[in-house]
Subunit: 592 residues, 2 copies
């Protein structure tokens, strides 16, 4: 029997080490190609293919090459050995092969049908990297960035509608998809287990609430750390801490059996809402840019890998019926989610959700990184492999067809994009007075009760506790809390308060600058009624991935405290505001 | 026989998945602690422990806890099984255990002495992560950042000395260390193999040259891509491309059998020297900050891990004699490197390397991330394990003792730090005229021949080809190259050239601004001779890790082209410069 030791000589071990570099190099190469293609597309204003779609195309081509240009390396692949004495499968196995001991690591349990002829193709094996890397390393920055760069004003303004779509909509989708796909003609379809349903709903709510609390708690700790220490003197440490604590929110939620995705999303929102205000100017820019780059790279790695996985994943199970059923199910489920809920929401909304926006919401049900990361986590059993293969095709289809079709669809439905709702209206309006009145109608939408309740609580208690801004807690908390209030209130907040008390109509630099612009604009014409249909804007349609933290542009906006008359006009003296200004109420620099 | 399946039920598989999150969480926790400690130290101006030393301390404590608070999980650990039919060790092994097939991955060949009782401790096993991650993922950003943030003016000014220490010094160290440690009394010490020595030297030079070329080539490609495309309109793509191409330099060198460390170092230097000038303002800041954060995090992960590895690495081989020998060897080798070479260099240098700087260079021979990453790559055989354990102790010792002792040492040797050599001298000087004369003496140092040759070539050919600045190639290349010259020269370079030709004494905005400051300063007093001993500054002593790219502050400096009289005074009209100004020679915004 000829002995063919592997990785024993220095040279072969060296080749083994090089493989790690080659694997990463392949991904780098794919990403470089993707970036150059994105640039080419942007430069020539091609919009028929979304950039992540491009990443998938290159991944597919590379997968095709790897699959058919490499041969299985192990001749004995597919052979099952028997080590009789073993009673269970240990995580580490020491095996004596021709008088030499080798260490083997447990990888997975496999069913017989999985022993494919490609089993031993070490190249494909190498290119299939640990799903936990997707889940624990690549996914968190994407989700966090979505939360961190969320346009919070639009988000909170439409909080009720968003929550309705998110919870009720997802529940409807789940039920519809569930009853169409996991459904089998053999079983009794009437056997609906009410107890199991409510238990699931309860579990869902408990896990959601726990994850939300975990994510917010990590953000609150970061906010307190950045508020009460002088960490802002060292922006690098500040950025590092924000990064690590936010990532820990994800990991901690996962380790605790909750869902990291929800935790890190709300961690991002909370960090942007509170911690961001405590950061040094350097860290504000640094964190924003860091997460933007990380999001960009992680997203493209995942989409490249998806393309690659179609050919390199060695245990695909394609079931035409299941795939068709899945496609059908997700469309029916989305329709059942969007249209009925929009109808219900429109009953209560002053600014209705128009039909064309409902169609876009229907159309924009894209599946991407999250679906993939969830599906690739478990691919041990055959049903799981079928799920994974189907999810992969769903992502391909929705990204290419719907992602690529978004621009024509928006044009066809006559929806303008890339404009702030208020900005868009302003551009449509012919004079500044018109814009003022529109602002008033806009603020009416903002005064939805959920928003008002939240805003009041946030302004009076959370902002003063977690940041340097807001009214001092001594003015908002009851008398007996004063020792604590004094401890928690930032000296800067007292400063702002004093300024407010000194001069009734104090005007900051920003206000003056804006006041000057508005004054110049107001010289144009008399007030006019706005055209509410001038440019309808859908709720939650702002791309979460546009990378604008949305804080800079809001710094110039002034809004009164809740309970006071809403006003969109400035309190600059000499400009003659139509509404009563906030008066002695402190004005916030960052409302959201 | 009782069957104890592992990872088969959904619940156990779920726990397996959670372990990945827990492992990352432990590192996040260590890094958060480290950051808070660094802040505390910085805040209280404690300098007895370097920040990486702190990371190691926390790693050690965590390692201690993991080692002694966790029990081996596999009861059958240490048992070697026999799978008779196998003739070699395949990369994937399918094993039938109680009628269920499990897949096992090849990990390593082990010698009998390695089968320790801790073999099966899955927790320790989990915390020991793949050495290739250190080498291919964590090390490149550290080295790249060193190159990218290198203070190039000081580097090139002392190029000769640096190369002498780097090559000749390393060679001397290698020989000394080699003859003290790999030396054994049994063998004949006179058996010096001249052929093997020259072959090694040849190999070293070939690999170095190849790696240097590879790294520079990647940077040149990046420079050309950023120069000839309008990628700067999309800073995110630009940053992504710079990041990926630079990392590819490392991976490609490794895959080609060269050394990635050298490749990525020179890639960083070249990127900073050329590509940086082509980047958009956004990308300049973004890349600088991105690499700074990545360097900071990667460095701290590695040092945390080192602390951890002392207790969690399961195959330590501590040999007191070898460890003592290694410590002795590196000190003797460094002494043989620094003192004789400094003596030789001082024979040719106008600005001598003073004794106190030589002592600091002797003292600053710290071992860190590179030594560790190299040692951990191969820990299969017993000598390799002994090397790894010894390297770990060496890093601990040098980082704690020498890293912590640096501040007292510098104070004791009366060396001021944190000042630019020229700046330092300027601060010492009592008037601006004094500073002028000092500048003249400083530029003499710069006119070392190696520097001049390089500077001329770079200014005439490389800068104009790879960036938008420098003289048009049509003026520097011979007539017959003109078609190519026109193709490669940036339109902006012609613009600069035209401006130069239009006005003989053209003054840019920067020059005017600086001129104003200098004029204000020059009103103070008459010229005076400088005190050359005012503040001696060592060559190459600028910390490579200080994170200052050093380009911003140099943008205001003007230097004449080589061959012209050196001048440190400005050519602003009306200020009356002592030296003849560069005249028609184009003035560079970034000399280095």
């Amino acid at each position: 029997m000829e002995r063919r030791p592997r990785f024993t000589s220095g040279k072969e071990e060296y080749q083994f080490q090089r493989q790690g570099a080659v694997e990463l190099l392949v991904f780098n190469f794919l990403l470089i190609l993707t970036i150059l293609t994105i640039w080419l597309f942007k430069n020539h204003r091609c919009r028929f293919l979304h950039e992540t779609g491009g990443a998938m195309v290159y991944g597919l081509i590379m997968g095709l090459i790897l699959r058919y240009a490499t041969a299985p390396t192990d001749m004995e692949s597919g052979t099952v050995y028997d080590c009789g004495k073993l009673a269970f499968s240990p995580s580490t196995l020491l095996i004596n092969i021709t008088d030499q001991v080798y260490e083997y690591k447990y990888k997975r349990e496999i069913s017989q049908h999985n022993i494919s002829p490609h089993q031993g193709n070490a190249v494909l094996e190498k290119m299939t990297f640990d799903p936990e890397i997707f889940f624990n390393v690549l996914l968190p920055p994407i989700i966090f960035h979505a939360g961190y760069s969320l346009k919070k004003r639009h988000f909170f303004r439409n909080l009720g509608s968003i929550l309705t779509y998110a919870f009720l909509g997802t529940a409807i989708s789940c039920i519809v998809i569930g009853s169409i796909s996991i459904y089998s003609p053999k079983e009794n379809p009437n056997a609906f287990d009410a107890a199991a349903f409510f238990q699931s709903a309860g579990n869902f709510l408990a896990i959601f609430a726990g994850s939300f609390a975990m994510g917010s708690a990590y953000a609150v700790v970061t906010a307190l750390l950045t508020k009460f220490t002088k960490l802002c003197e060292f922006p690098l440490l500040e950025t590092g801490l924000l990064f690590l604590l936010s990532w820990s929110a994800f990991l901690c939620a996962e380790a605790a059996g909750l869902t990291g995705i929800v935790a890190v999303l709300f961690c991002g929102v909370t960090q942007a809402h509170y911690t961001y205000n405590n950061l040094s100017l350097d860290s504000k820019m640094r964190t924003k840019q860091l997460f933007e780059v990380m999001n960009f790279l992680a997203e493209n790695v995942i989409f490249c890998y998806m393309g690659l996985a179609l050919f390199t994943f060695q245990n695909h199970v394609f079931n035409a019926l299941f795939i068709l059923g899945a496609f059908l199910a997700i469309f029916v489920a989305r329709a059942c989610n969007i249209y009925p809920l929009s109808f219900l929401l429109n009953l209560g909304r002053k600014q209705k959700i128009p039909w064309n926006f409902q169609h876009v919401m229907m159309f924009s049900g894209l599946r991407g990184a999250i679906a993939f990361a969830l599906a690739i986590r478990d691919t041990e059993s055959q049903p799981q492999q079928m799920m994974f293969s189907t999810a992969l095709l769903l992502v391909f289809c929705t990204v290419w067809v719907f992602g690529g079709g978004t621009t024509p669809m928006l044009a066809w439905l006559q929806i303008r994009v890339g404009v702030d709702p208020a900005e868009g209206v302003k551009q449509e309006a012919t004079s500044q007075q018109e814009a003022n009145s529109v602002d008033k109608s806009t603020t009416k939408t903002e005064s939805a009760w959920l928003f008002r309740v939240w805003y009041g609580f946030d302004h009076k208690y959370l902002k003063p506790i977690l940041t340097h801004s807001g009214p001092p807690l001594t003015t908002t908390l009851p008398e007996w809390c004063h020792p604590l209030s004094r401890l928690l209130t930032s000296p800067r907040a007292y400063g702002e308060q004093l300024k407010e008390e000194d001069a009734e109509c104090i005007v900051s630099q920003d206000e003056l600058a804006l006041g000057f612009q508005e004054a110049a604009a107001s010289a144009l014409g008399p007030p006019a009624t706005p055209d509410p249909k001038a440019s309808p804007q859908a709720p939650g349609l702002d791309s979460m991935h546009e990378g604008d933290l949305g804080l800079g542009s809001y710094a110039l906006r002034l809004e009164s405290t809740p309970g006071q008359p809403q006003h969109g006009q400035l309190a600059s003296p000499g400009l003659g505001s139509q509404d009563a200004p906030g008066g002695r109420e402190p004005r916030l620099e960052n409302v959201m």
